[in-house]
Symmetry: C3
Subunit: 353 residues, 3 copies
């Protein structure tokens, strides 16, 4: 890059608030990690987080993959979060924060240094809030936000500039609604995050064939998002036609995902970018849908099933199953077929050649 | 869901206007359906629509799939719309509205109870309408809408908040332009609906390789949307480079669909979510493109052809053909290949095992 | 189409500014092309560009594909841009502009007639620019634009209505930021173009599994876009988690593309619509990713590699390789496998039939 960049460590102060300094002891406590190091290691003061190769003695770093052990050996970090299996590999003088869930420990420590900014309560003078809307305590409403009649905004929710909240919509507490988001015909739980450009509650794709062309079937359901749901940038969640489109508590949806009308997702599902779930399909809890996968309508995916990237799912999937391919089949079968066809076609090519 | 929800029948009054009550006779007339039931059944008064399992005697419900016959047997609905084949299955005391097109009848009856809200004519004081723009009678322009110089907005068109209409754009009558939609370099017919975040008329993806990198090829065409076209949320329709990008009358495009420059779609096509049509490709009338399918550029798809989900179309498709797979092949061939490979690979696995 | 359309030649004056008339000589000079024609041909005056079949003697047209030679024979165009191989085919009286890069010549001549509108410097009274933001010379800021604290906007940059620029963001000079674009946590080079609805800099998809559900991993990197980068409508570029998401100079990204956190794209890459690149994956220079392709995370794609449409890339790809299929394999192998399976399954079907 020929751009002249400011310092590229994580947490660029142009963009991120930073707390601290913090002691190793305080960090270990928030991460529920065990300190491994010289006496008094808990008193060491750290100023931020950084990758192994960039960290200085004032920063804490992180290892969760054997592949990066060479970087651990050479790191200058003051402390490193790692799993019990790697604690023998700590270089001399580097404090270990040992956790059985090192990635979770990392998440918490990084969030300790860089917490989400609290709401800045108040309604921007250039926002338009209908006089019948009910606005909770400590809500932040940005410039050019529109809030329709009879909408309710839960306490401590933040609406970024340009968000559009339709008539009657209910947002829970501590929601984060991104820039240019639109929400209509929807009821949201607490701590819901919508990233920029997400579209929640528009009409599903429903029409009947009439004598002069298609005729729209009214879409009379809603979207209900459970607590702690996240919806990625420019993703689209259509409202139900006769029942609600439901996204269970804790489910995380990435960018550019499509969820059709009446779909029902369980708790703590993961839907990766550009995947699509067609109308009336139901997912159990803890289902994972990888990127660009597509599910047809009116099927059921059992809990903890995992759908591979680009998978095309045309029928029910059992709980706990791992499927991939288009049409979907068990992982093992898919890769066996691929290898078999490759081998056979190669042999055939040679025989003819 | 741990959310405490209000009543979950379709048509939640928080979000939907409701007309009525209406007599069975009036509903039968609007749906062109035949009443089957006791004498005077046409005088029975109904208040809304509901699914078979939730309807009360004051609601009308709907059956179009043999699979739901058990629900019909137990329904408490006052009336049920259904096809002639099911009319013998009506429980005693439930009035039938029999139609050869039950889904269409349902669409019309649901729309009779919950009609689309009429435009609320007027220009919001926080909208910016260029003084050279021409605004038709009965137009509704929401907050923070921008309308560029010399644009024309047809009568009774509704622009939701935050819509951006570029210079010179022509919208027909009775359009519904959603929140955060942008339209430039485009001419729209009557009764066009654009859902939130749709992007109409931006530059196509065109560039030439120059000595110092890519150089943009000016995109000098337009987008033309025929009457009754619908474009889904966050879909993108690029304008043409040398000719126009055309979407024929009555065509319906779902969410997150990409239409490349110079593409030409016929009348009453259906393009399901996350499908993509590359530049200069042409579709006849009544073509269906299922979800996540992709069409390369410069090909022709004959009328009434059906392209399956996730299909990758690399060459012309004949009128009336059904194709699927990547590369596309006839439905029958695709599923034969899948079954054959599965069988062969399994046999091979056993032989080796 | 039953719409009554105005003249459908490229460059509709409703939407496009037009310069000229221009002489063949001036056009040849800007395109570095050789004039082939009668004496004094360089003095001929032209008024615009048009396709071969629509051009009049006052327009210049273009041929780069043998397939359109019949149109060349019948064209009424005043002049035609073409490659050396076709110059013998020019009809009598039609001037040739011969170039080894006819498409590039076309791009330049079309841009000479229809140059990008220059910025109209000034800040719209309905834009909100934080008082600590630094606005360069000649910048155009449209209605309802928001610019956050300490942001920097380079000279001659144009921000269309409704764009949202977050705190601390740095835009280079001569950027074109489309309608409803949002940018946060990002640093942009010069001459960057973002099309409507593009989302730059939101949180990547990162979370750890905690005892009560997923916990967000703070995303502490940025997005850095090199000079001359273009990002298509409604595409999403997540910011890095620990390092930056980097898009190299000159790279062009089409509509509805997803780029995950920490991804690194080289210079002059092409990423076609609806493709997705997962987190931490790295592309060398001049890589092409065709439409709807998907790359898993943490892999490396060598320079000048070409990834086919709908390809599913699960491992590293060598420089210069051509791959397609899901999972990805060399083009040749993919089509050999397809043909082989088709042949074998057909034979099997006959044997059984």
């Amino acid at each position: 890059m020929s751009l002249s960049l400011p310092d590229a460590l994580p947490g660029d102060p142009r963009f991120f608030h930073r707390e601290g300094p913090l002691t190793v002891g305080a960090l270990a406590e928030c991460a529920e990690a065990e300190i491994v190091g010289q006496e008094g290691a808990g008193e060491i003061v750290l100023r931020g987080v950084a990758p192994l190769q960039a960290a200085t003695p004032q920063e804490i770093s992180f290892l969760d993959n054997r592949r990066y052990l060479p970087l651990l050996a050479e790191t200058r970090a003051g402390a490193v979060i790692l799993g019990p299996a790697f604690k023998d590999k700590l270089p001399e003088g580097v404090v270990g924060l040992v956790s059985k869930s090192p990635y979770l420990a990392w998440a918490r420590i990084a969030a300790r240094f860089h917490p989400v900014s609290p709401a800045r309560p108040g309604i921007h003078p250039m926002a338009l809030v209908d006089e019948t809307a009910v606005i909770g305590e400590g809500v932040e409403i940005g410039a050019f936000v529109t809030i329709g009649a009879h909408a309710k905004i839960g306490a401590h929710t933040v609406l970024a500039p340009h968000a559009a909240i339709g008539e009657g919509v209910i947002l829970g507490t501590h929601n984060r609604i991104g820039t240019h988001v639109s929400v209509s015909h929807a009821i949201l739980g607490d701590r819901v995050t919508l990233y920029p450009g997400a579209r929640i509650g528009q009409d599903g794709f429903g029409f009947a064939v009439g004598p002069a062309g298609f005729e729209t079937v009214p879409q009379l359901g809603r979207v209900v998002l459970g607590h702690d749901v996240e919806i990625g940038a420019n993703s689209t969640i259509d409202r139900g036609s006769m029942r609600d489109t439901l996204i269970g508590a804790g489910t995380r949806i990435d960018n550019l995902v499509q969820i059709g009308h009446n779909a029902q997702l369980g708790r703590c599902c993961i839907v990766v970018s550009q995947a699509g779930i067609s109308g009336s399909t139901e997912l159990g809890d803890f289902v994972t849908i990888a990127a660009q996968a597509g599910l047809i309508g009116h099927i059921k995916i059992g809990e903890k099933a995992r759908i591979g990237a680009q998978c095309g799912v045309m029928s029910d999937v059992e709980a706990g199953a791992d499927v991939i391919g288009s049409p979907a089949m068990p992982f093992r079968e898919f890769f066996r077929n691929v290898a078999f066809l490759r081998r056979l076609a190669k042999k055939d090519g040679k025989a003819e050649g």
